[in-house]
Symmetry: C2
Subunit: 737 residues, 2 copies
C-alpha cells in the first residue's frame, strides 16, 4: 500500500524509480549505440519501462520505471525467498495481491530487477563492471520535498520519534534506518551521562572514581541495550536473519571449480585455510600501521613538548603551530596510504561474500582509526605523564636543529625548571572531544556543500564561457548550443537539471558515519573520566550530527539504494571492544591521577606503584567482565515488544500446523477404535477369542507373544493388578495384626 507521501514523491519525480547513467565517452560511436540497445533491451526484458534523455556531454540518462505486474511478481519472489530463509513468518500472499509495503522495499526490489542476473529474473546490469562498464551509476532520485519537510521538522525536536525512524527506514531502507536508530538511541542514552558528568564535574572535578564506575556501567548497559534494540528493530522491520542471506562478491576469484556433491552445481571454491594464511598478513599490517602512525604522532608530540616546554628561543609563538601542522598534514596522508594498503590486503584475501569482505575491511579500518584517534591521548597519559622527566632530556636532539638559528643559551629552558604540564591530558581530551568534533562536522558537511556549490558555479561559468566561445563559432556550427542548454522539453527542464546535479553526487556509505560514532563512543569509554564534560559535548554534538548527517545524505550524496540489514554489523563488536578497553584505561587513569595533588604524578615513574596500578587494572577489568556477563544475562531474559510479537507469530504458525496434523490424527483415532483390539471392549470378546485360538497355535514359538497374550486389554490387566493389590494388602493387614 503506497502511502500518500510516497505517491506525492513519485509524482514529484515523474514516477521515475531509478536513473541509469550510461556514459559513451571513450567508446566508438557504433559500439556505444549497440551497447545502449542491448542495455535498453535487457531492461525492457526485465519488465522495466525506459525513457532516454541526454546527460552531460558524454552520457545518457536512462529513466526507469517498473511495470506494475512485473514488480508485483518480483516482490512476491523476494517474499517467498524471505519466507524460506525464515525472515518472514507468514507465507506470502499470492503474487497478484502483493504490493511493496514501503518505498524502500519498492526501490530495493526494482534494484534487484535491474541488477540480478537474468536466471534470477533481473536484467543483469552490473554498473562499472564487466560488460556494463559504461553504466556508471544506477540510483533512485531524492524525494526533495519530503526531505526538506523532515529537516524542518527535526530541527525543532530534541528526540526523533519511532515514527520518524520508521519513515527514514521507509525512504532509505533498513541499513540507513539502523544507523539513524543507533544514533538516536546513543543520543538518548547520552542524556544520563551528560547530566551525571556535569554534576560530577561541578562537584568532584576530573578523575572521579564514581564517575568512572558509572561511566563504565553505562557503557556496558548501552552496548547491551543496543544489541537488544537491534534485535527488536529487526523484528519490527521484518529483517531478522537477513544477514544470513549473503550475496556473493563479483570480484571473488575461485581457485577451482568443484561440483557440489549435494546440490550438483558447479561452485567456485577458495580454501578457507588459504584465506586464513592470507589474513595472517593483518598482523604485520597492524604492526606496520602502529609503527608508521606511531612514529609520526610521537615525533610531532615530542616536537610539541620540546617547543612548548623546553624551547624558549625566538618565534616560539609561531613555532608552536609546527607540530599541529605536521600532524594535520602527515597523519591523514599516512592514513590514506594505510587505507589503500588495507583495501588491497582485503582484496587479496579474496572473500566470497560481500558481508565477509565488509567485516574484514571494517576490522582493518578500525585498527587505523584506533591508532590515529586514541594514540595521542595514550601517549600523553601513559608515556608523557609517568616518564616525561626521563624522556624529555633526550629531546635535546631537537636542539641540534634549532642551534643554527639560535644561540645555545636561549634555546632551551634549564632542565631543572622542567615541570610536566598537568593540564595537558585534559586539554588534549577537550581537543579531541570538542574541537575535533566541530572540525569534523565542518569538514564532513559544510565544506563539501560549499565546494559543491562552488563547483557548480564554476561549471556554469565554464559552460557560459564555452558557450560564448561557442557563440563566436556559432556561425560555423549551429549544433554547439545544446552543450550549454540541453535540448530538453520546457516542462522537464527543471527536473532534468536536478537529475543532472544528482548524477554528479557520490555514493553514500553508511559505514563511514557508523565508524565516526563508534570512534566517538570510544573517547567516552576510554578517556571521559579525565574530563566529565565529555558526554555533554557529545550530547550537543550528536543532536547536530543526526540532522547534519541527514542533510548530508540528502544534499551531498545521491540517494542510496535501500539495503536491508538486521544489525549495524561489525561496529557492534567494536563498541563492545572499546567499552572493554575503557575498563582498563579508566582504572589506570583514575589510579594515576586521582587523589590529592601531591599524590598525583609528576613525570617520575617511581611515583606510581606498578603493582598497585596493575592490580587496579586487573580488578577493574574483571569486575567489568563480570558485570557485563550479568547485564547480558539479565537483558537476555527481558524480551523487547517486537521480538515477543515475532515469537508469538512463529508460535502461532506452528501451532496452527500442529493442530491440523493432530486433528487428522483424531479422525484416524475413531477409525482405529472401531477395528483395533488394544483397548478391546468386552463386546468384541468373540473376535478376541478367535484371535486367541489363532495365536495359541504359534504360542510355543515366541516367548514375547506368549508374554503379551496373558492379559488382553487394559481391563484384564486391571483385574489382575487389583488381585495382587488385594492379596498384598490383606497380607499386610494380617501382618499388622
Amino acid at each position: 500500500m503506497a502511502t500518500a507521501s510516497e505517491k506525492e514523491a513519485l509524482g514529484y519525480n515523474l514516477q521515475v524509480d531509478y536513473v541509469v547513467c550510461y556514459s559513451f565517452a571513450d567508446v566508438g560511436r557504433s559500439h556505444a549505440v549497440q551497447q545502449l540497445e542491448k542495455l535498453l533491451r535487457a531492461l525492457s526484458d526485465a519488465g522495466l519501462q525506459t525513457e532516454v534523455r541526454q546527460g552531460d556531454e558524454s552520457s545518457l540518462l536512462i529513466f526507469v520505471r517498473a511495470s506494475k505486474k512485473r514488480l508485483k511478481r518480483a516482490v512476491y519472489r523476494s517474499r517467498v525467498r524471505d519466507w524460506l530463509y525464515g525472515i518472514r513468518n507468514a507465507e506470502p500472499e499470492p503474487a497478484s495481491a502483493i504490493e511493496p509495503q514501503t518505498e524502500a522495499e519498492r526501490l530495493r526490489i526494482i534494484n534487484h530487477m535491474i541488477t540480478l542476473p537474468s536466471e534470477e529474473g533481473g536484467a543483469g546490469i552490473t554498473p562499472n563492471h564487466g560488460e556494463w562498464e559504461k553504466v556508471t551509476a544506477v540510483f533512485p532520485l531524492h524525494d526533495v520535498e519530503t526531505n526538506s519537510k523532515w529537516m524542518r521538522e527535526w530541527s525543532k525536536k530534541t528526540f526523533l520519534s519511532d515514527d520518524d525512524l520508521n519513515q527514514i527506514r521507509d525512504k532509505f531502507g533498513e541499513s540507513v534506518g539502523f544507523y539513524f536508530s543507533f544514533l538516536q538511541s546513543y543520543f538518548r542514552f547520552l542524556v544520563f551521562p551528560a547530566v551525571f558528568g556535569f554534576s560530577c564535574w561541578f562537584i568532584l572535578g576530573g578523575y572521579s572514581v564514581i564517575y568512572a564506575i558509572v561511566n563504565s556501567l553505562w557503557c556496558i548497559i548501552f552496548v547491551e541495550y543496543w544489541k537488544r534494540q537491534e534485535r527488536d528493530l529487526s523484528c519490527r522491520w521484518q529483517t531478522k536473519g537477513v544477514s544470513a542471506v549473503q550475496t556473493n562478491r563479483r570480484e571473488f576469484k575461485p581457485e577451482k571449480e568443484v561440483r557440489d556433491e549435494s546440490t550438483g552445481e558447479m561452485r567456485g571454491i577458495f580454501p578457507a585455510t588459504k584465506r586464513m594464511q592470507r589474513q595472517l598478513l593483518q598482523i604485520p599490517f597492524a604492526f606496520f600501521a602502529a609503527v608508521a602512525l606511531g612514529v609520526i604522532i610521537a615525533t610531532c608530540f615530542a616536537i610539541e613538548i620540546f617547543i612548548s616546554e623546553l624551547y624558549s628561543g625566538p618565534f616560539k609563538s609561531y613555532l608552536v603551530f609546527i607540530p599541529t601542522i605536521l600532524v594535520s598534514a602527515l597523519v591523514p596522508t599516512m592514513s590514506a596510504v594505510l587505507m589503500s594498503i588495507a583495501t588491497r590486503l582485503n582484496d587479496y584475501e579474496n572473500h566470497e561474500t560481500n558481508d565477509g569482505y565488509d567485516v574484514a575491511l571494517t576490522q582493518k579500518v578500525f585498527v587505523i582509526n584506533f591508532i590515529t584517534s586514541y594514540l595521542p591521548v595514550f601517549l600523553t597519559a601513559f608515556v608523557y605523564v609517568p616518564f616525561a622527566s626521563r624522556i624529555v632530556p633526550y629531546l635535546d636532539v631537537f636542539r641540534l636543529t634549532v642551534r643554527p638559528f639560535v644561540s645555545k643559551e636561549h634555546a632551551t629552558a634549564k632542565r631543572s625548571h622542567f615541570q610536566i604540564d598537568p593540564a595537558r591530558l585534559r586539554n588534549q581530551v577537550i581537543y579531541f572531544t570538542v574541537t575535533a568534533q566541530i572540525v569534523g562536522f565542518a569538514m564532513e558537511t559544510i565544506v563539501p556543500y560549499l565546494k559543491q556549490g562552488a563547483f557548480r558555479k564554476y561549471k556554469t561559468f565554464n559552460k557560459k564561457r564555452n558557450g560564448k566561445s561557442g557563440e563566436k563559432k556559432d556561425q560555423e556550427s549551429p549544433e554547439r548550443t545544446p552543450i550549454v542548454s540541453y535540448d530538453d522539453p520546457v516542462e522537464e527542464k527543471e527536473f532534468l537539471a536536478r537529475v543532472r546535479n544528482e548524477v554528479e553526487l557520490s555514493e553514500y556509505e553508511v559505514t563511514d558515519d557508523l565508524r565516526e560514532m563508534c570512534i566517538q563512543f570510544g573517547y567516552l569509554a576510554l578517556f571521559s573520566p579525565v574530563w566529565p564534560l565529555v558526554p555533554v559535548s557529545f550530547f550537543v554534538n550528536n543532536w547536530v550530527e543526526l540532522r547534519s548527517d541527514f542533510f548530508k545524505i540528502c544534499k551531498e550524496f545521491c540517494r542510496p539504494t535501500p539495503l536491508r540489514a538486521d544489525t549495524i554489523g561489525p561496529w557492534l563488536d567494536t563498541l563492545g571492544f572499546l567499552s572493554w578497553v575503557g575498563s582498563i584505561t579508566s582504572a589506570a587513569l583514575i589510579y594515576m591521577f586521582s587523589g590529592n595533588s601531591q599524590h598525583g604524578p609528576n613525570g617520575e615513574p617511581t611515583d606510581i606503584a606498578g603493582w598497585a596500578l596493575l592490580l587496579t587494572i586487573f580488578f577493574s577489568e574483571h569486575l567489568y567482565l563480570l558485570v557485563r556477563y550479568a547485564v547480558e544475562t539479565g537483558m537476555s531474559k527481558i524480551q523487547p515488544p517486537f521480538s515477543r510479537k515475532e515469537r508469538a507469530e512463529r508460535y502461532l504458525m506452528r501451532k496452527r500446523y500442529l493442530d491440523s496434523t493432530l486433528r487428522v490424527d483424531a479422525d484416524d483415532d475413531h477409525d482405529e477404535d472401531d477395528t483395533a483390539s488394544i483397548s478391546g471392549p468386552p463386546e468384541i470378546s468373540r473376535r478376541t477369542l478367535e484371535d486367541d485360538a489363532r495365536q495359541s497355535s504359534s504360542q510355543n514359538t515366541d516367548p514375547a507373544e506368549r508374554f503379551w497374550m496373558r492379559q488382553r486389554g487394559w481391563e484384564e490387566s486391571s483385574q489382575i493388578g487389583a488381585g495382587i493389590i488385594q492379596s498384598q494388602s490383606s497380607e499386610d493387614g494380617k501382618k499388622e495384626q
Copy 2:
C-alpha cells in the same frame, strides 16, 4: 527401520518398551485399585498395550508396549514438530510410511506417549507428581546382551569409532551420546599433551614456559574444536536446534495468568525482573560457599602444615592423618549442605523451563565444585608459597591445643628452622590428578557395584529368614510364601527377577559425569604446568573412565530415557571459563616458580616483584583472549562435513521451492508478453497508436504520464539515445578537428 540388534534386544526383553512401576504402599486398597484402573485406561487410550505383574511387596510392574499404528502416528507428529521448529530440513513422509529410525527415537516417542498431556496425544502420566504420585518409575529395560557385547569389544580398543558413538546414541539417546562423544574427543585430544607433557617433564621438568604456552593453546583449540564438533554432531544426529524447543517445568509457579494477546491463550507469567532479583541471592550464596568451604579447607591446611612442618612431638606419624580425615569428612558434608541450599535457591528462582532450571543449577553446582576442587591448590600456590613465613608463626595457636599433652620444648620446631616445602605444590597436584581420580573412580563405580551386590545378598538373606520365620507361621497363613518367591510363570521367572532388580536402580544423570570431566579439564588448564605428567595421568584415567561410565550406566542405573540434545549445555561455557582462568594461573605459576632455585620463592613475599607478576598475568591473559579470538574466527570458517551437508540440504530445499515459483513466473511471462505493451513489438503499433490517442486526451493533466509517453518501448528509447550519441560524437569529432 529397526536394526537387527534392536529386534534382538526387544526379543530379549519380550518386546517390552517401558516398565511403569506402580506403588500401592500407604494407600487404601480400594483407592489403589481405582487409581490402577485409571492408569491402565490412560495408557490404553494413548495406544499402549499393558501387562501387569507383581513388583515387590507393595508395587506392581506394568509392562508397556506401543501399538504399531499409534507409534507411527506419534513419530509422525514429533517429526512434523521438528520440521516446524527447523530441526529437520525435509518435510516428513506420511504417517503410514514412517518408522522410528533408532531404538532411542522409538523409546523417546513412547516416553512422550506415556508422559505428554492428553491434549498433545499422550497418556499424561507424570511420575512422582500430582495425581500420579504413586507411579514411582517409568523406564525402559536394559539390553543386557548388547551392553555386555559392547563392553567386551571396547575393552580391546584404544579409541571408540564414530560407529560406536552412533550406536551409543541409537541405544541411549543423544544426551548420553553427546557425553560419550565429548569424552572420546577429550580422550583423543589428550594424546598430544600427554606425549608433549611427558617430553617436557623428561627434558625441562616442571614449570616450563613452553609447556604452559602449548598447554594453554591446546585448551583453546580443544574447546573451540569441541564447539565445532558439537555442531557437527547435532547435524549428524539431526538434533540441531533441539534446545530451542524447551519443555516447561511442572514445578513452575506462575505469579499470574495472562491472556497472551497474540496467541489468545492463557499463559502463566512470572516476571523476569522478579526472577532476576531472586537470582541476586546467588552472590551471597557464592560468597557463603566460598567462606564456608574456604574456612574448612584453610583450617585443615593450616593444621596439616603445623603438624607436618612445625610439630615435632610424639604421635606425629599418626597425627599427620588428622587433617586428611577432617577434610574428607567435613568437605563432602559441607558440599552436601551447600548443594541442598543451591537446589532450594534454584527452586525459589522459579524457572519456567527445564533448560533454564538446569543451566541455573549447573552454575551453582559449578561454584561449589570450583571451590572444593581448586581452592586447596590455590591456597598452596598463592598463599602458602609466597606468604608462608609470614603466616606460619601464627599457627602457634595450635600449640595451645597441643600443650596439654606435650612439653613446650618438644612441641614445635624452632621458627628459624622453618622452611617451606617446595615439593608441596607438586605433591598436591599429583594427589588431585592421580590419587583423587583413582579414588573417585572407586567411589563412583566399584563401591556402588559392590554395595549393590551386598545389598541384594542381604535382601535375599533377609527374605529367606523372613521366609523361614514365615514358614514357621506357615501353618497359620499359607499365603505368606508369595513374598519370597513371587507367583511368576516359570518361563518369565528369570526376566521378572531382572526387571525387579532394575526397578531398584537409581536414575542416571549425565550432568554428573560431565561435571566430573569438566573439573578434570580444569586441573589440566589451571595447574598442569606444575607437573607436566598431568595429561598422561588423565589420558590413562579417561580410557578407564569411558568404559567404567558405560559399565555404570548398564549396571548401576536403570536405563535412561533417551533425551535429545544438541550440546553438552552449560558445561561448555565452564570449559571456556576454566581455560581462561588457566591462562592467568599458568602465567602466575610460571612466573613464581620457574627459573633457577635461588630465584624461586621461599615463603617471603618480597621475593616476588608484584608488578612483574601482575604484568605477566596481564599479558598472558590478553594474549590468551587474542589467540582465542583468532582461533574462534579461524575455526568458524572451516565447515565440518555434516554441517556442510545440512546446509546443502537446506539450500536444496529452498532452491526447489524458489525454482517452482520462478517457473510459475516464466509461464506468466509468456501470457504477459502477448498482451503487455512494455516491450511493444512493432507489430502492434496500431494498438499503441490507439493507446496514444486515448492517452493524449489526458495528456495535459499528469506531467508524469506525459514524461513516460515520449518514448514508447525500448526500441524508441534506443533510437533517441543513438541520436544523442551520434550528435555528441560528431561534435566531438568536429572539436577534435
